[in-house]
């Protein structure tokens, strides 16, 4: 079965995000003073084959832990979609 994982990687809450801060300031300077916080992250799409959804899930988990995210500074979450073959 073919799957698509959509992985979102964000800096952990305890990590200062200077890029997000800079964007926050820029948004404020557009006049949108209601913005409370901006955090930047990464988005990764992975297409792959797996025998079942639960195996697709554990494969994505492994990719995230081993490479896509660095647990010292990042959190990750993902959604899995079964693709039409």
């Amino acid at each position: 079965m073919k799957f698509l994982s959509r992985v979102t990687i964000t800096l952990r809450k305890s990590i200062l995000d200077p890029q997000g801060k800079a964007v926050h300031h820029a948004v404020e300077s557009l006049g949108m003073k209601q913005v409370r916080d901006v955090r930047m992250g990464k988005y990764v799409e992975v297409r792959f084959e797996a025998p079942s959804e639960s195996e697709a899930r554990s494969a994505t988990e492994e990719m995230c832990r081993k490479l896509l995210a660095n647990p010292v500074m990042e959190d990750f979450r993902f959604e899995i979609e079964k693709m039409e073959s």
Binding site: I15, L16, Q19, A22, K42, L67, N70, V72, M73
Partner: protein
């Protein structure tokens, strides 16, 4: 002491750009042997010391050093380090070492968000390592930095462990060795510029000692780091006990 030359292996990733500087310092300034180790190589050519040089390995894609640590050569470097081999990671090399799990923590984007390229001052915090034994206690060095992601970070538990075991080898400081002001160029936790692993055989540092080694460039404070590595290697050739990171603080 022995007449045998120390053989340095300088790893070359696509995007490495300080590899020739490191090679030049080992070979021409300190008159030792040096070879390049291509990232696809699966052997270390019997080198005595591995240098992971500065640059932008694999374009710094994903995270600095994250792709490099998956390369074939890094599996060999990890094995070499775990067997006690001497490994020096400079700048991007430091980033590769933390991604490879050979050193703790991570190097975040500079607090200023700017790429910083200038001379900084470093204080030698631990001169009992195989890398730093030719420096004086608390000696202040002038060594250049050139990085966008040098802001060292780790959790409080790991920081306490680094402090307690004297694993912070270099800290940023001002010209007189003091902290504060703009001495810290990148926001690095506890002013950390370089750390060693628990066994003391792997050093990662953001500053570039290879750019301050040839007298023709005007600064030579980095030279004793390489000379120290060479003397330590000689003492291991001679069968004496390797100098470890353990030992008295300062």
């Amino acid at each position: 002491m022995t007449d045998r030359k120390v053989k340095f292996g300088v790893v070359v990733f696509p995007g490495s750009n300080c590899d020739h500087d490191a090679y030049y310092v080992c070979k021409k300034v300190l008159n030792q042997n040096a070879v390049f180790l291509w990232h696809k190589d699966a052997g270390l050519k019997d080198v005595d010391v591995v240098i992971l040089p500065g640059g932008f390995s694999y374009g710094d894609y994903l995270r600095c050093g994250a792709i490099a640590r998956c390369s074939p050569i890094m599996q060999e470097v990890i094995r070499f380090a775990n067997e006690g081999g001497t490994v020096l990671g400079i700048c991007n090399g430091f980033q590769v070492l933390v991604e490879a799990g050979l050193l703790p923590g991570v190097l975040l984007r500079n607090a200023s968000l700017k790429f910083v390229c200038k001379f900084v001052h470093l204080r030698v915090e631990n001169r009992t390592t195989r890398f730093t034994h030719l420096y004086k206690d608390n000696e202040v060095l002038a060594i250049p930095i050139a990085h966008g992601d040098g802001n060292y970070f780790t959790d409080q538990e790991t920081l306490a462990e680094l402090e307690e075991n004297n694993r912070i080898v270099f800290r940023y400081c001002d010209a007189s060795g003091g902290d504060g002001g703009d001495a810290n160029p990148n926001g690095s936790l506890a002013n950390i510029a370089g750390i060693v692993n628990a066994e003391g055989n792997v050093l990662g540092m953001m500053p570039h000692p290879e750019r301050a080694s040839d007298p023709v460039l005007g600064y030579t404070d980095g030279r004793r780091l390489f000379a120290g590595i060479i003397e330590s290697a000689w003492s291991r050739f001679a069968g004496s006990i390797p100098i470890s990171a353990s030992g008295g603080r300062r």
